[in-house]
Symmetry: C2
Subunit: 237 residues, 2 copies
Amino acid sequence: MCIIYTYMWQEQKIKIAVDAIVFGYSNNTLNVLLVKQKFGLLKDTWVLVGGFVQNNEALKDAVARELKEEAGIEVNYLEQLYTFGDDINRDPRDRVISVAYFALVNSTELHLTADTDADDAQWFPIYNIPKLGFDHNKIIEVALERLKNKLSYQPIGFDLLPEEFLFSELENLYCTLLNKEIDRRNFRKKFLSYNVIEETNKMGGKGTGRPAKLFKFNKQKYQLLEKEGFHFDIKFA
Amino acid sequence: MCIIYTYMWQEQKIKIAVDAIVFGYSNNTLNVLLVKQKFGLLKDTWVLVGGFVQNNEALKDAVARELKEEAGIEVNYLEQLYTFGDDINRDPRDRVISVAYFALVNSTELHLTADTDADDAQWFPIYNIPKLGFDHNKIIEVALERLKNKLSYQPIGFDLLPEEFLFSELENLYCTLLNKEIDRRNFRKKFLSYNVIEETNKMGGKGTGRPAKLFKFNKQKYQLLEKEGFHFDIKFA
DNA sequence: CATGTATGTGTAAATAATACACAATTATAG
DNA sequence: CTATAATTGTGTATTATTTACACATACATG
């Protein structure tokens, strides 16, 4: 039964890393943030933002640090996604277990600033991700699945949009990510019925056609309603 | 930018463990499996089944191994829950990050067999969990939340029941765990409408009252329907 | 054989989801 | 300046789903 102690005798040689899958959205396209490895075995291959956890550092702090160091960004939303540690050889150098985090930003407002070289960090459209180092393509797949699922039952779409947005942008986001056609009227009706997005008095349409109102998400109100048992739920035929 | 290499210079001293939250259900009560520490700082305190991961061992294999070694059981359902690594001092000895897994068994059919001492492993009703070592009380909370949520949109309730069960047992499970009253007729109607549970020709009521049919869950059929876009969804007023 | 207890079933009302079309507002082109 | 193209904004009828609700059936017990 003294399993724990048995294993303490055998020195553990596993390293622990964090990786961040950062999603951005602009021009009706979902993007993923990647960085280029500059050294080592995988020099010049693209990978997710990530790195090893420091001895006295919380996991989530490690992610925030890497995001700042490697891409110079702060994110709107961050949650733990999954811990990848079943494939013993996912890192060719050592046994590394990676705790993957899932992050959302509005990439239209975002400046990527890699320390030494501006080309180091870049957005890639989700339908055009290159072959990445480690198991990072797999990790992105898992993250995308999570994003799609959450979109329907948590109001995280707003973290991919600017503070103030057009209804057509919101609609496009849902259509694009869920790959479904939506009735514009029913979509708007349902969203408005939840009373969590508010009309501003600004207008935002720039192109042709009738100018559109800008809306914004009232997060406070949402959190209040949630405590009272309200369930966000956007589904389509 | 060479973050990864920077941290390799600083030797990482983090240990990685797995812990399993095993839920069982019997007598209309949800139970959690706990084991008693036999050595070390936390001797005689109750904790979750768990231990350190071996160098060449997949995370999920580590969990399965611990479950077998510490309690002698195999589980119906196992999924990764969350990785606890934000509290630097969650283990008083060293920095330990724990990947927690969430497991379901039908505890009525279950023999607990701890290697050396039968008292080592025991079921505790969820409403009567003692103060545990480490942050294990917290972990159980997270797991319970997950269980409650999943119950509504994945057919995992069956993994807590025997192969063949009464409708009243299924109903009780949902009532108890979700802490809601359910209309017996509507519950049955909805469940049957999904066509994933089948009537056997056996009867199973033992006590007083009209004898009841035994039903069983057809997992194959469920997985088939799922591929065709079917979504399991049990909600109540 | 009467009583208690749990099982098994149908229907009407209310609510939510879907399908669907046209007027309003601006930019642009002729 | 007028016509056209493009996009926003809105309501209602139909259908499907969810909810509420009550009584007959089968066995065990005394």
